[in-house]
Amino acid sequence: MFVYEKKLQYPVKIKNTNPALAKFIISQYGGPDGELGASLRYLSQRYSMPYPELKGLLTDIGTEELGHLEMIGTIVHQLTRSMTPEQIKKAGYEAYFVDHTAGVYPTAASGSPWNAAGIGVKGDVIADLTEDMAAEQKARVTYDNILRLCDDPDVSDVIRFLREREIIHYQRFGEALRLATEKLDQKNVYAINPAFDK
């Protein structure tokens, strides 16, 4: 089960209203490589995992991603909580505003609502861990791209923290893949799927 902690993983304190930034940062809330998808990917993959290291790592990283989802939601909230109709129009935020006002809705920057098609749960140890490593890279690139576009130091500070977490997770998934495959037949690591073949 999950217990809520009434604090963020990392401080988010944004002084200036700026819907133009919220318009693309929302993608890490509900976009294809965002934090909602990350948490659901890992927390869903863990059920079929055969080894305790994999169950533990997917649980712990999946839980951390829920904390990142909360941080991104907080960024979007703080960028938009005091916006005026003039700021909305100037930022081109009308389309989001008319559907969600100043609420935080899981959608990609390109407009599609969050979709489970963006995550993979294959039920195979090597395939799922390889997916997770790719997912961390895609999230890292999304944060790189946000840093290229972001002109508010209060926001960039938080984005740099989240981006570094993707690198740590990539390393851990790589180590987990090694630990898992060391348990397999070294002459043919694809002989069976240990998540299914007992």
Binding site: L8, P11, E70, Q78, F161
Partner: protein
């Protein structure tokens, strides 16, 4: 080179791959050690406890804030425990890292008790000896501003 591993000859920025590895499989060198490590406040700012894995975009890094807060201190201790937790998930036999992990758990536990006594609960269970139901007290985490943070 600093922090060179005597056995492998690799720096803390590097890992060791085995001499023979199966084909058709991606290989990530395992992190050799939980040392060197940043201090907790710097680890939080950097987004990692480990200098060896600290790989910033365009080499721009977060600066530590000039003034810290009780909440930030608590976040830093919590961050080190979860960072070491992920390390231990793939290095469960590292007794030195486990010892450090436990000492940070203790620091976090003590820090949390002090924080809760001054600012209110972090978890519902922190209300065990509270005088009233202070769970609802503002600010909630997304409401932070310069003035409201612990």
């Amino acid at each position: 080179m600093e922090n060179m591993d005597m056995q492998t000859g690799c720096s803390y920025k590097q890992g060791v791959l085995p001499g023979c590895s199966p084909l058709a499989l991606s290989q990530t060198p395992p992190q050799q050690s939980s040392e060197p490590a940043y201090k907790s406040g710097e680890a939080l700012s950097r987004g990692t406890l480990f200098p060896g894995l600290d790989l910033p975009f365009k080499n721009i890094v977060n600066q530590m804030p000039a003034e810290t807060t009780e909440l930030r201190e608590l976040m830093a201790l919590d961050f080190v425990t979860s960072e070491l937790g992920l390390y231990l998930d793939t290095h469960s036999g590292d007794t030195q890292a486990f010892g450090t992990f436990q000492s940070f758990l203790k620091l976090y536990d003590e820090g949390k008790k002090e924080y809760v006594a001054r600012f209110g609960p972090i978890c519902l269970s922190d209300l065990v000896s509270a005088k009233s139901y202070t769970w609802l007290k503002d600010p909630w985490p997304w409401d932070y501003s310069g003035e409201t943070e612990g």
